[in-house]
């Protein structure tokens, strides 16, 4: 049975590439050591393999359904989540003072990735709950934390994020849900929310909806949006559950993948009032939500990478065992067929997957470590630098794995041939599940706009300069290693080109050609993404090259594999960035200029 995750590689990334162990030097993480991190990852693997994985296919085939009264979900989900809650996973990343483990985010993100690889549908519920609890930790009053966050961290209540509406997804400034102020300081919410994951179920005693809405009279656009807590069951002052609140399930959405996480359309305040409390100040709703956005988006990238990884490992295992065909040079038709992994084209598909999934995973873990470094950095200037790096890398951490690790899932299906297209093997499910990731948490189109329109230009390009500085340092070190000099040269070229292209685009923006400036933002995202992944491949190759000489047989193959994948990425993938740079530098308007009636 192939593994869900290659622990050797995860260890390589966490300890050899990113030195996560070094975080324990900071007081915030001093209570931990590597053995504790290993213990956490071992425990995650075991729970994921034994409680999440076994019902993944069943959950996909039996999606939650609504009988007009209740939402039914197969019982295995509840069992898995009970074990998850009992294991203390819900609050793993929270501080000890909130009853959490105060683990580095990088370790928690890796563990979460393992649960997603095992069963994304079941994992969805606790991830949403931790995220909702985290929002209240940052912006809730102490009273709101005791009343709502605590039961969520204890796993008794689950949470949701209610942003989207039928008419407003990417453009949240257009949401219409109303919040009507009441004499007692509470609000009554009225409106419709769409796409709400985990919006209705019996898996927990209560559901805490965090809802974006407009207070009557608030200005148009994002500045008029506030955030509210609207529980499914009202909560009495002593914390016990009161009457059902005015949140009604309008219907379920029937999805291509991620079927285990029930997805709902919710109506607020239709007949019964939907009583809510405001979180933070009026008008700060989107700011509160987006405070947590980097971590949410890294989480999406992480899930995309680990689902891609699981598909890669499955197809690799298959390719080693499936006899078919003979080498091109074999003349004798009666000779034994070879395993398909012997065919160069199958190796291409495996190598491409490896380059994508290990590259994507490295980027997400790199970003997760930036979150940790930021949390322990004392020097304000260095903290600001870490913040800027995270800001510029986050749209790539979300979009790149969700585009390219999805591509990897497609290749995994291809490696299995016809078998890959059937539901007897998990690779088609990985593909369907992963297909969500380019869409939610801001579509990849929106990520492109965020990267080029905001992150690159912020503070006069300071974030981009920091990123290029880090890339330059890797280039410099690798240039001194003969085996890596070819890549160092290519990366330097790609980074220089990216800098030039950005200048050209920036000038267009300064001249007021805003539509032209952003017309190819997604292309820019791909170019930058490929450059950043090439950088992280060179970093991996540098570690691998250094470790190779002293390694034993199995580790030698592991490190050699890293070097091969680096070579693949630099020779087959990075040149694509140069082509994209040409189009971008030309301010190409092919797409922009084509009018709707010309299609």
């Amino acid at each position: 049975m192939p593994q869900l995750m290659n622990r050797r590689d995860l260890d390589f990334m966490l300890y050899e590439l990113l030195d996560i162990g070094g975080l324990t030097g900071a007081p915030r993480f001093a209570m931990h050591d590597r053995a504790a991190f290993d213990g956490v990852l071992d425990a995650a693997m075991k729970l994921a393999e034994q409680k999440f994985l076994p019902h993944a296919a069943k959950l996909d085939a039996n999606e939650p359904h609504f009988d007009g009264e209740r939402v039914h979900i197969i019982p295995e989900v509840r069992e898995a989540l009970d074990a998850y809650v009992e294991g203390g996973w819900m609050s793993a990343a929270f501080d000890e003072r909130h009853g959490g483990m105060q683990l580095p985010y990088a370790v928690v993100a890796a563990a979460n990735g393992i649960f997603v690889a095992a069963n994304c549908g079941t994992s969805g519920y606790p991830f949403l709950t931790s995220a909702a609890a985290n929002l209240l930790r940052a912006h809730g009053t102490p009273e709101q934390q005791t009343r709502y966050m605590k039961p969520m961290l204890e796993g008794r209540w689950f949470g949701t994020m209610c942003l989207s509406e039928p008419q407003a997804g990417s453009s949240l400034g257009d949401i219409r849900t109303r919040a009507i102020p009441q004499a007692d300081g509470s609000y009554h919410l009225v409106g419709n929310k769409m796409w709400i994951s985990g919006g209705e179920h019996d898996l927990s005693e209560n559901i805490v909806h965090l809802v974006l809405a407009r207070i009557d009279g608030a200005p148009a656009g994002v500045k008029g949006i506030s955030l509210f807590i609207v529980p499914k069951h009202r909560v009495n002052p002593d914390g016990s559950l009161g009457a059902r609140n005015g949140v009604r399930l309008a219907g379920l959405n029937h999805k291509m993948g991620y079927r285990g996480t029930v997805n709902t359309a919710l109506n607020f305040g239709e007949t019964v009032p939907a009583v809510g409390q405001i979180v933070g100040s009026p008008g700060q709703g989107l700011a509160c939500m987006f405070h947590m956005m980097n971590e949410a988006r890294i989480g999406v990238g992480m899930g995309a990478a680990t689902m891609g990884y699981a598909g890669y490992l499955f197809s690799l295992d298959y390719a080693r065992q499936r006899p078919q065909g003979r080498p091109a040079s074999a003349k004798d038709p009666a000779s034994k067929p070879v395993m398909i992994i012997e065919h160069s084209d199958v190796r291409r598909m495996l190598l491409q997957q490896k380059a994508y999934v290990e590259g994507g995973l490295a980027l997400c873990l790199y970003c997760a470590k930036l979150v940790d470094e930021q949390s322990i950095e004392q020097d304000p200037k260095r903290r600001e630098e870490l913040h800027l790096l995270l800001e510029i890398l986050t749209p790539m951490a979300k979009a790149w794995p969700s585009d390219f690790c999805l591509e990897a899932n497609k290749l995994a299906i291809q490696v299995l041939g016809g078998y890959g297209y059937t539901r007897d093997y998990p690779v088609e499910r990985y593909y369907r599940d992963n297909r969500l990731n380019p869409i939610h948490e801001g579509t990849n189109g929106i990520q492109g706009l965020d990267l080029l329109g905001r992150k690159v230009t912020m503070h006069n390009g300071a974030a981009l300069r920091l990123l290029l500085g880090r890339i330059g340092a890797t280039v410099k070190a690798a240039s001194a290693v003969p085996e890596l000099a070819e890549y160092a040269q290519a990366l330097k070229q790609a980074a220089d080109t990216a800098a030039q292209v950005t200048m050209t685009l920036g000038q267009a923006a300064l001249q007021g050609k805003l539509d032209l400036f952003l017309a190819n933002a997604h292309l820019y995202l791909e170019m930058m993404g490929h450059t950043v992944i090439a950088w992280l491949w060179l970093e991996q190759a540098s570690k691998a090259q250094a470790a190779l000489a002293g390694a034993g047989a199995a580790d030698r193959a592991f490190y050699a594999g890293k070097l091969r994948a680096c070579r693949y990425f630099f020779r087959y993938e990075l040149p694509k960035a140069a082509r994209q740079a040409e189009l971008l530098a030309r301010l190409d308007d092919t797409c922009l200029a084509m009018s709707a009636d010309e299609f």
């Binding site: 053995a35 071992d42 075991k46 203390g88």
Partner: protein, 248 residues
């Protein structure tokens, strides 16, 4: 009552074992290790006995190199109160291990020694029995049920003919089988607490034992690949084929 549980660090059961090309052993570098699954069952049983109020202290013991500390950390996370690391970087064969465990058992005055029926690396299935013989105390192997009552224990064991229940006087050695229990999932708070629990590190010499190599590994080879099957058309053909191979 105090229980001593031995835990061995072995190549993880998920790893596809590879034999070294020179036939001197199996590849262990870059390979994931974890606690012997049968020892996990022994740990779980010790914790359950404590939860039932039958046991007051659980001590985990291991023999092996520096990395064995990881295995002890797992045992502490499972619920051992403290751990003893008998540090030995070289090969340890069952008799050496048994002598060391017997010495620790005696020194600790533990009433029960729980161990896996075998370790999944060498599958020797010897250590528990040897500990009992060395101390001349009762033993019950392959336990599928353990009940402790005062100075005695009732052990149900899996034998070829079915189940057999023995009563042993304590102190005793009990080696555990697969169906005894299902080890729990480690909880994060327990993994964190494990770091604060004491691990005492000693050498084999400290318990008066010297490394003994009673057996010598001559060669390690992978099992022969399965030969290609043949299709037969009739039962007669099958019988003559089996006869030809000397199988019937």
């Amino acid at each position: 009552m105090k229980v001593l549980v031995s835990v061995k660090r072995v190549v993880d059961y998920n790893v596809r074992i590879q034999v070294k090309s020179d036939g001197s052993g199996v590849v262990t570098d870059g390979v994931k290790f974890s606690m012997n699954p049968f020892d996990e069952i022994a740990m779980e049983e010790a914790v359950r006995l404590r939860e039932k109020g039958k046991v007051t202290e659980i001590v985990a013991v291991t023999i092996g190199g520096a990395k064995n500390e990881e295995t002890l950390r797992s045992a502490l996370a499972f619920g051992a109160d403290r751990a003893i690391h008998i540090k030995e970087e070289g090969e340890v064969q069952p008799l050496t291990a048994a002598k060391a465990f017997a010495a620790v058992l005696k020194k600790e005055g533990a009433q029960l020694f729980l161990c896996g029926k075998q370790a999944i690396d060498d599958d020797a299935n010897q250590t528990g029995q040897m500990v009992a013989s060395l101390l001349d105390i009762a033993q019950a192997t392959f336990a599928s049920k353990v009940e402790v009552d005062g100075s005695k224990a009732q052990i149900t064991r899996e034998i070829d003919a079915g189940l057999e229940t023995l009563e042993v006087d304590l102190p005793a050695v009990v080696s555990v089988d697969l169906r005894l229990n299902e080890p729990r999932y480690l909880k994060l708070p327990d993994i964190m607490k494990a770091k604060k629990k004491p691990i005492e590190t000693i050498g084999l010499g400290d318990v008066g034992v010297a490394v003994e190599a009673g057996t010598k590994t001559v060669k390690v080879a992978p099992p022969p690949a399965r030969a290609k099957g043949v299709m037969v058309k009739t039962v007669d053909e099958l019988v003559s084929a089996l006869k030809a191979k000397g199988l019937v």
